[in-house]
Amino acid sequence: MSLKYGILGLLTERPLHGYEVKIRFESLLGGSWEVNIGQVYTTLQRLERDGLIEADGERGDRGKLAYRLTQTGRRALQDWLSRPESEPQQLREEIYVKLLLSTRLADGSLDQLLAAQRRVYLQRLKDLSELEVRARRDGRDDLVLLFKGAILHTEADLKWTDACAEEIRNSNQKGKEAS
């Protein structure tokens, strides 16, 4: 997730200084996601360098400097908000790497791996469902949508492990028939 546009978005309401940005960011994500303060400051500097934000007033107490959006920044934010995501599919889970590697290993532990992975997905589904319920109860409709997204991803992953298992079974079958 891009910190740059997140910060721009947070600055639409009012100018903020670095620490406030961190706090608000975390609260936006709804609980216990931590954001590195160093990353925040670095990004703020970049944004200022690129002319998307500017300092808002003088350094206040304890040397905190607030920033606000520039026109350019506002426009950039609008563009980004209205643009759909077209980056390539990010497959970040380790399982994909393990999959690619294990086909080079001939010791047949792939299906056990997939079975264990499957269990993880099942438990994750349960947990995500619970989180969704809680978010709805707390009135956080935005989080509801987020969790729904995560659930659908997990369902897809689950389907994928089943598909892998079937492929393996079929190729074993063919192997048996050939020999």
């Binding site: 997730m1 891009s2 910190l3 740059k4 546009y5 997140g6 960011f25 994500l29 709804g30 609980g31 216990s32 996601w33 954001v35 590195n36 990353q39 670095t42 990004t43 970049r46 079975a115 499957r118 269990r119 099942l122 438990q123 994750r124 589904l125 349960k126 947990d127 995500l128 469902s129 619970e130 989180l131 989080l143 987020l146 969790f147 995560a150 659930i151 369902e155 689950l158 089943d162 298992a165 079937e166 079974r169």
Partner: protein
């Protein structure tokens, strides 16, 4: 202590399908008071499994023993009585009898068991009350919403105090809201001691409500796992990566 349902080496082959048995060596046990979900894609054999436990069909080989009774050995009449007294059904499409009122529908299993009309009516009304649709008692099923119909079906399933409540895609024909209400109901009943067996293709449904998930693939049990009650924090489950923008 014997388990409520004990399936051993169960195979089911349909005529002409010898190469692809619907169930191919299934072993499964269910204890009293459990809430088990049997999950699998279409063709996995979950409907067949349900039919066998329900006494709607007999295994080709292997044993299906429910409450000490070997269903494979029972005659048609005996199976019918078993279904009447020991099992409660909840179907995806409700399967209420359109020509009877809701109350009459719920009374049917009791009447089939020979209970008097008055006794059956009393029990049915009690259940409708408990399930929150007492005011629909004298209407015909077609007039009720999906959720209400399913609740009526659940009432009907409970009328003879079955050992086992079988739900086959109970939310499949319902909107999300009603579906959740129905599932919550099943969870409630389970908390009260009712053994529930849920059959579904929806992993989300299975994992959300059931304690134990049995995965069927190609007629075999691929997995049988008890899930932990969820106390997770979001960060344990979902990671939102925040990174610097490149340039």
């Amino acid at each position: 202590m014997t388990r409520l349902v004990e399936m051993t080496e169960v195979r089911k082959v349909y005529d002409g399908g010898a190469e692809h048995p619907a169930l191919n060596g299934v072993a499964l046990g269910i204890d009293r008071g459990e809430f088990v979900a049997v999950m699998g894609p279409s063709g996995s054999g979950k409907s067949t499994l349900l039919n066998l436990i329900a006494g709607l069909d007999r295994p080709t080989s292997g044993r299906v023993v429910v409450d000490g009774r070997d269903l494979g050995r029972a005659g048609e009449a005996e199976l019918a009585r078993y279904r009447r007294d020991r099992v409660g059904f909840v179907f995806q499409f409700f399967n209420l009898l359109g020509s009877l009122t809701v109350l009459e529908n719920v009374m049917v299993p009791a009447q089939l068991a020979g209970r008097s009309r008055a006794a059956a009516r009393g029990r049915a009304q009690e259940l409708l009350q408990k399930l929150g649709i007492a005011d629909q008692a004298h209407r015909y099923p077609a007039r009720l919403s999906g959720g209400q119909q399913q609740r009526a079906a659940i009432a009907r399933a409970l009328v003879n105090q079955p050992l086992l409540l079988l739900a086959d895609e109970p939310t499949g024909a319902l909107d999300t809201r009603s579906g959740e209400q129905v599932m919550d109901l099943l969870v409630d009943l389970n908390r009260g001691g009712q053994t529930v067996l849920l059959v579904t293709h929806d992993a989300k449904l299975a994992t959300r409500y059931a304690r134990r998930v049995v995965s069927l693939i190609d007629g075999r049990v691929a997995d049988d796992v008890v899930l932990q009650p969820s106390a997770a924090q979001p960060a344990d489950v979902v990671r939102i990566r925040v990174e610097e923008a490149a340039g």
